[in-house]
């Protein structure tokens, strides 16, 4: 079922390796995000798929055909650039029609398909405007229409939403997913925004310093991050450094003398580990009723939830609780923290890389 595959793809710029040994298989109709901090090689990876950057090593194939050395104008992939790269001297219609013109689609059919594409992105009434007369969100939709109208086998999106303001970005995420579902095009989206990657993708590929470090469905990525970097980059988390202890059948993490019960069968006793627990997995109880005693250091009201920082014997912990309509503990009040041991994730090694 593999539709698009990357096998051991690397890219070197001089002595600098921007992308290192990326191997990835994408199925037809899938929506995959490349997620990572700025400069980790996402754009380079996307442009190698598009044919705009030639890989130093590795193989890229599409639907069984090796396209590693194929020119971009023969690949026929739809690309939405970070800057949108619309043709400034052409109207919206002319921009969208360009790809069809290059394919020598007869003019009647061309106009029909342009009209359909514009109605898909809800820009029908802007058909005769020039790009400079459009807002950021409208330009982005023109770029999507221009890429989709040629019915590409794969749609490549490079941070398509990063130039939009928060509210519009949220709307466009749903819009993008709606369009993708409707058209069914295999889509790869580059983003540095973890919330965006989690909310619209079928699978997320995390990249760090040119390497692929985890490929998983959003839910699994969030619940089972494979390293300390990912657990803090994807969502918020509390990272605590400790030592693994084992006593017969029970095991625990020792953090400065405090033992927290946890299970991670394959780790040897005495190994330094990092413990990760999400703020929403911690329950706040009355003082004395939890596994750990603490005191509220500060609290922030976020509307749908409260975010607390709690001083505890093992360090400061972030805790979030849903807004239940009653006033939660005030700053300075003692509280007890509780959690289900299954929600503690143990990551081998120290949290040095996580910061």
């Amino acid at each position: 079922m593999a539709f698009l595959t990357l096998e051991g793809v690397s890219k070197e710029f001089g002595s600098f390796t921007a992308v290192r040994d990326v191997t990835l298989t994408i199925d037809k109709g899938e929506f995959v995000s490349l997620l990572g901090p700025s400069g980790c090689g996402k754009t380079t990876t996307l442009q190698m798929i598009a044919g705009l950057v030639e890989p130093t090593e590795g193989r890229i194939s599409l639907d069984g055909r090796d396209i590693t050395r194929e020119k971009p104008n023969h690949r026929g992939l739809g690309v939405v650039f970070q800057s949108y790269a619309l043709f400034p001297h052409m109207t919206v219609t002319q921009n969208v029609a360009f790809g069809l013109e290059m394919r020598r689609v007869p003019s009647a059919e061309r106009m029909e398909r342009v009209r359909e594409a514009l109605s898909l992105v809800q820009l029908t009434s802007f058909a005769d405007r020039y790009p400079r007369q459009l807002s950021g969100g409208q330009r982005q939709r023109v770029a999507i229409a221009r890429a989709l109208v040629i019915a590409p086998p794969v749609l490549l999106l490079d941070e398509p939403l990063s130039n939009l303001d928060a509210k519009l970005r949220e709307e466009m995420q749903f819009e993008l997913r709606r369009i993708q579902r409707k058209v069914g095009t295999t889509t790869i989206m580059v983003t540095h925004d973890q919330a965006e990657a989690l909310s619209i993708s079928d699978r997320v590929v995390v990249m760090e310093g040119g390497r692929m470090t985890q490929v998983d469905a959003p839910y699994r990525l969030y619940e089972q991050p494979s390293n300390a970097f990912i657990s803090s980059f994807v969502g918020k988390t509390n990272l605590l450094a400790g030592t693994w202890r084992r006593n017969g059948t029970s095991s625990a993490v020792d953090i400065g003398g405090v033992l927290l019960e946890a299970s991670a069968p394959e780790i040897a006793a005495g190994t330094p580990v990092t413990l990760s627990i999400r703020p929403e997995k911690i329950l706040m109880r009355d003082a004395g009723a939890g596994r750990l005693e603490g005191r509220v250091a500060s609290r922030f009201f976020l509307g749908s939830q409260w975010l607390f920082t709690i001083d505890t014997p093992i360090g400061t912990m972030m805790v979030s609780t849903p807004n239940q309509g009653v006033e939660p503990p005030a700053e300075g009040s003692p509280v007890g923290l509780d959690w289900s041991p299954a929600n503690l994730r143990i990551i081998a090694g120290t949290a040095a890389a996580a910061a």
Binding site: N73, V79, P88
Partner: protein, 286 residues
């Protein structure tokens, strides 16, 4: 009260030096030239203090002058065309170069501007002369020696060399403003390199090409050193003609009339061209 009057006079004071400069160095000599061109001239007694239109009538009816004007127009247009044909691709290649090379080649292109036109023109006259390098090379590969010096060809070659930077620089500036991803977008949509250049890059550098063409045309049509040194005594252009009327014939009023006609003709051509191309470019580029 004082503060108020000083704020009112401030713009005038600020614009004053520039305006004075412009008036003294451009408008005044121009007005004097216009007045001079209407004075009568007599070969034995010199400039008369009587009003006449005869110089203008002479210029526009005498085929000798018309031929020179026609040649000037032809050479300037040809130079502009060749400069565009060489300069635009050159600017494009330059804009796609990586850094050490880009700076080196930019210097190579702008470098000639640092050498006097007269010196460069003498250089060309040595190269193109009957025993020059070009003819020696022609003979070496078995061709008959060609007469290049003192022909329109020589003038066009040297003018293109002198004017090329004025075409490359505005086009290069326009290319710098272009998002390189726009060209890449055209490729991903199926356009070949050539089609992407023609349909996407070229239309966006029209304004740069327009300003380059105007500068090259204007400077070529009024060029003096190149036609004077490479055209010889007989092959005259407008500027050398004016020079001759002033300094050889000593007929200053006729020289002034020619200068005014050249100025007006140049202005008309450039304005019309500007109108035509800019209107089109503005409509789409804004």
């Amino acid at each position: 009260m004082i503060a108020r009057s000083s704020t009112l006079s401030a713009p005038w004071l600020l614009a004053g030096p520039g305006a004075l400069f412009f008036f003294g160095l451009v408008l005044l000599p121009l007005a004097l030239t216009v007045i001079l061109s209407f004075h009568a001239y007599d070969h034995s007694t010199g400039i008369q203090n009587t009003f006449t239109l005869s110089h203008y009538v002479t210029v526009v009816t005498d085929s000798y002058y018309l031929e020179i004007f026609w040649r000037t127009l032809r050479i300037a247009a040809l130079t502009t065309l060749i400069c565009a044909a060489i300069g635009v691709p050159e600017a494009y290649i330059l804009s796609r170069m990586r850094d050490p090379w880009r700076s080196v080649f930019l210097l190579v292109i702008i470098g000639p501007l640092l050498v006097s036109v007269v010196v460069r023109t003498f250089g060309w006259s040595m190269l193109l002369g009957s025993q020059g390098l070009v003819n020696q090379a022609l003979q070496l590969v078995g061709f008959a020696p060609a007469r290049i010096l003192y022909t329109e060809t020589a003038i066009v070659i040297a003018l293109v060399h002198v004017m090329l930077p004025f075409m490359v620089i505005p086009v290069w500036t326009a290319l710098q403003k272009l998002d390189p991803m726009v060209e890449a977008a055209a490729w991903t949509l199926g356009a070949s390199h050539f089609t992407a250049l023609r349909r996407v890059v070229m239309p966006q550098v029209t304004l740069g090409m327009l300003s380059g063409s105007l500068i090259v045309f204007g400077l070529s049509a009024s060029a003096f050193a190149v036609p004077a040194l490479l055209g010889g005594r007989r092959l005259k252009m407008a500027a050398t003609l004016v020079y001759d009327e002033y300094l050889h014939e000593l007929n200053w009023p006729l020289g002034a009339a020619i200068a005014i006609i050249v100025l007006v003709a140049n202005l008309c051509i450039m304005l019309a061209y500007n109108r035509m191309v800019e209107a089109r470019a503005r409509r789409t580029l804004g």
